[in-house]
């Protein structure tokens, strides 16, 4: 299979997937590793489903092929299901337990999925589930949920937690460094439990 380690970050436009992918890219740079990535910009960001591809040690194109992501970090549980086919056999999903019901469901009267439905359909894979917003609020701001997710996922990625910490500190707004530092650690604790 392809060399390197492929990370797919998914969520909803506005949840901070781009910042999260920047942190991963910056951490790669700090470790002197090559990295390629791709993300959603433009109209699709307006509350739509968004994806960021990050290929750690990537030498070629920025896109991850379906069936080959080593890990999916999902900021919304429903989005984990939408992108599940990107995961390779034996891959890991780190997902936020919360999900936003798409407005299409209300307007078009489609039936809304429940957490149980989603979990059942994700059931056959390695899943690390966490309440990212709750932890982010504990750390000081609900906006830090993306960094909580990275903290949890840090156990599974081939990047040192220290490079990730430094990348977080470098990239988040200066006033929020302390909050995000806490958010990362809070996520790391939760991720450690998943790891068992």
């Amino acid at each position: 299979m392809s060399p390197g380690y492929d990370v797919l970050v998914v969520g909803i436009g506005g949840q901070g997937t781009i910042l999260a992918s920047n942190v991963l890219g910056e951490a790669c740079l700090m470790e002197g590793r090559s990295v390629k990535g791709a993300e959603t910009h433009g109209m699709a960001q307006r509350g739509g489903s968004v994806e960021s591809h990050i290929r750690i040690d990537g030498e070629y194109g920025p896109l991850i092929a379906p069936g080959s992501a080593d890990i999916i970090i999902s900021f919304d549980l429903l989005e984990a299901l939408r992108y599940k086919h990107y995961l390779k056999t034996g891959g890991k999903i780190v997902a936020n337990r919360h999900f936003v019901v798409p407005t299409s469901v209300f307007v078009q009267g489609v039936s809304a999925p429940t957490e149980e439905d989603i979990l059942a359909r994700l059931g056959d894979i390695g899943l690390c589930l966490l309440d990212a917003e709750v932890m982010a609020v504990e750390a000081g701001s609900p906006l830090a949920a993306n960094i909580v997710m990275l903290g949890a996922a840090s156990h599974f990625m081939p990047l040192s937690p220290d490079s990730l910490r430094k990348a977080v500190e470098k990239l988040v707004p200066p006033k929020t460094v302390e909050i995000n530092r806490k958010a990362f650690e809070r996520g790391r604790e939760a991720g450690a439990e998943c790891r068992g």
Binding site: L29, E39, M43, G47, G48, E79, S104
Partner: protein, 589 residues
């Protein structure tokens, strides 16, 4: 020299600063916008940078700067090049003295576009060179060097990155920034710059005579490369060339095309050394056609014999399938992996508190059986609310409206267009509608910005690209000057005001304009405007569902009753919709 993790467009902007560029113009359009967004926020600037009114205006400005001997960059998305096609075609005749690089960003898969046209075809049409980067690093290097190439040929150079270059990221090695030293000086030369028939016939001949030299030079540019490994070969262009390299078996030859026009003799020498060639390129079969012309009895696979699609975006996943289909086994065999069925779609939607939503709501009430031509902007998302019946290109809401009217259609016609789009190409259509006696209503959705592409200022905003105050144009005065007597300005959050203005417009003949004005909710939030949230009183709520049907993402259903969540921006429109007075501002009775 430094290495940074950058967005493709950031790397491209940096390449321009290394050149250095002296003049920058463009019109925002995904995926091209960030290049100027980066260049306009640089603290120390030795260059002029502007958001122009449209792409034609942008290119003519850049062309003139290049005539004066400075290095000019003009950016746009692929469909913007259609707007700029008029100056483009003849700029090849006049040529340039300073380097002119026209960045036209293509969007395979139409992630954020109305079509999948291929800029390389324009380059061939205009007979000017085109550079097509395969990686972000190459995009950076190419654009930096493109200015010098333009000066060497005396021709504009088209630079054509695609979405997956512009909006991808990678570790990029950057060069040092250079200081601007050139100052424009116009040398009068009517035989070059006045394209009357007597001059242009000579200029056309000169352009044609340049072609062989350009081909030879580009074959040596380092952007078109090959390695011979076996009897079979893959020829790929742009980012597809990068995907191919991940999959290429050791015994298959490879040619990468990054610069056009391709030298036929150079291409033929490579092709004739092989038994089978597979051409892999996104969109139009530009390389494939060149290969087929020189192939003789060599077998050529590609789009024309059905192995590769004409449309959409490629990835290593799709290319592995193309290779398999053409009998070249890729190094990686991907298993089929399809998305799960029945997952509710999450398309982009208008934001909570979007200023367009109440306008569409009122429009559909007042003009219930109307026809709604619309335009290019965030408001195209009004499709989901049944408020958009047509979009074709920038400015066409107005002209499609008048065209439908003159066809004899009897329904009310209500066109919607954004402020930036109206200024871009809407005005001629409005003049035309008035002049030729159409009966229609035009609603200008004036949110004071070019929102969809990232909130770039426009001539109505009152600031320039670099943030300096400038004279804001008056949309009202423009509309009146176009001959419209009914011009009403309403607050987009005022449903009663909107409804009243629309009823008035409906009752009158001729062309009516309603300007629905309210700053974009995102700009308002960034400017620190806080309106406070709204809430639904569960005791007063009857669960009628009217607020849910309004389609604001802040209103969710919880236990069969609507509930206003954290996304609420406090626009208060839902409170005006609720017939039971169940919605009110938090903290108020």
């Amino acid at each position: 020299m430094s290495k940074q993790y950058l967005l493709g467009n950031e790397a491209i902007a940096h390449g321009c600063l290394e050149s250095p560029v002296d003049f920058v113009s463009g019109y925002p359009g995904t995926p091209s916008s960030e290049v100027i967004d980066i260049l306009r926020i640089q603290e120390e600037r030795g260059y002029h940078v502007e958001w122009s009114v449209n792409e034609k205006v942008a290119l003519e400005n850049a062309l003139a700067a290049a005539w004066c001997g400075v290095r000019a960059l003009c950016t746009m998305k692929h469909v913007g090049l259609n707007v700029a096609a008029d100056p483009l075609m003849t700029s090849a005749y006049t040529g340039v003295t300073g380097g002119l690089v026209i960045m036209s960003a293509d969007d395979p898969y139409a992630h954020s576009s109305q079509n999948e046209q291929d800029t390389r075809c324009y380059a061939a049409f205009a007979r000017i060179p085109c550079l097509d980067p395969s990686t972000i690093q190459e995009a950076h290097d190419m654009v930096r060097d493109a200015f010098a190439l333009s000066e060497e040929f005396g021709l504009p150079v088209l630079f054509r990155p695609t979405t997956r270059i512009c909006h991808s990221k990678g570790d990029v090695t950057l060069g040092d920034l250079k200081t601007n030293t050139r100052v424009g000086k116009f040398q009068k030369d009517p035989r070059q710059y006045v394209v009357i028939p007597a001059h242009t016939r000579i200029l056309h001949k000169k352009l044609n005579e340049k072609q062989p030299g350009i081909k030879k030079r580009l074959a040596d540019s380092g952007y078109n490369t090959f390695s011979v490994k076996g009897a079979n070969a893959v020829i790929a262009s742009g980012i597809a060339a990068t995907y191919v390299q991940e999959l290429l078996p050791e015994d298959v030859s490879f040619m990468k095309i990054g610069a056009y026009p391709i030298d036929e003799a150079w291409l033929e020498e490579f092709v004739r050394q092989h038994e089978k060639i597979l051409v892999i390129e996104e969109l139009a079969p530009v390389v494939e056609e060149a290969v087929r012309q020189v192939a003789g009895c060599v077998t050529v696979h590609g789009k024309k014999d059905g192995h590769s699609p004409y449309e959409g975006e490629f990835s290593q996943y799709t290319i592995a399938k193309i290779m398999q289909s053409a009998g070249i086994s890729p190094k990686i065999q991907f298993q089929d992996a399809d998305p799960l069925p029945d997952i509710p779609a999450r398309p982009p939607i208008m934001c909570a508190g979007c200023t367009h939503r109440p306008v569409f709501y009122a429009m559909r009430k007042v003009f219930k059986d109307g026809i709604y031509p619309s335009d290019i902007g965030c408001y195209t998302l009004g499709l989901q609310l049944g408020a958009v019946d047509t979009t074709i290109c920038m400015g066409a809401s107005v002209t499609v409206g008048s065209g439908i009217y003159h066809s004899g259609e009897k329904a009310d016609i209500v066109s919607t267009i954004g402020d930036s789009t109206f200024l871009h190409t809407g005005i001629p259509g409005l003049i035309n509608a008035v002049y030729n006696g159409a009966d229609m209503t035009l609603i200008i959705l004036d949110n004071r910005t070019t929102a969809m592409t990232g909130h770039q200022p426009n001539p109505a905003t009152g600031v320039t690209a670099t943030g300096e105050p400038t004279i804001p144009v008056s949309l009202e005065a423009i509309c009146r000057a176009c001959g419209v007597s009914f011009v009403e300005t309403v607050d987009s959050y005022d449903l009663v005001g909107l409804t009243t203005a629309m009823k008035d417009a409906k009752a009158r003949p001729g062309v009516k304009v309603i300007i629905a004005r309210q700053p974009c909710v995102i700009t308002a939030r960034r400017a620190g405007i806080k309106r406070g949230r709204y809430r639904i009183d569960p005791d007063l709520c009857t669960g009628c569902g009217l607020c849910i049907k309004f389609g604001c993402p802040a209103i969710e259903m919880k236990d069969d009753k609507p509930y206003i969540g954290e996304l609420c921006s406090g626009c208060g429109v839902c409170a005006q919709i609720c017939p039971f007075g169940a919605i009110s501002k938090e903290g108020r009775k």
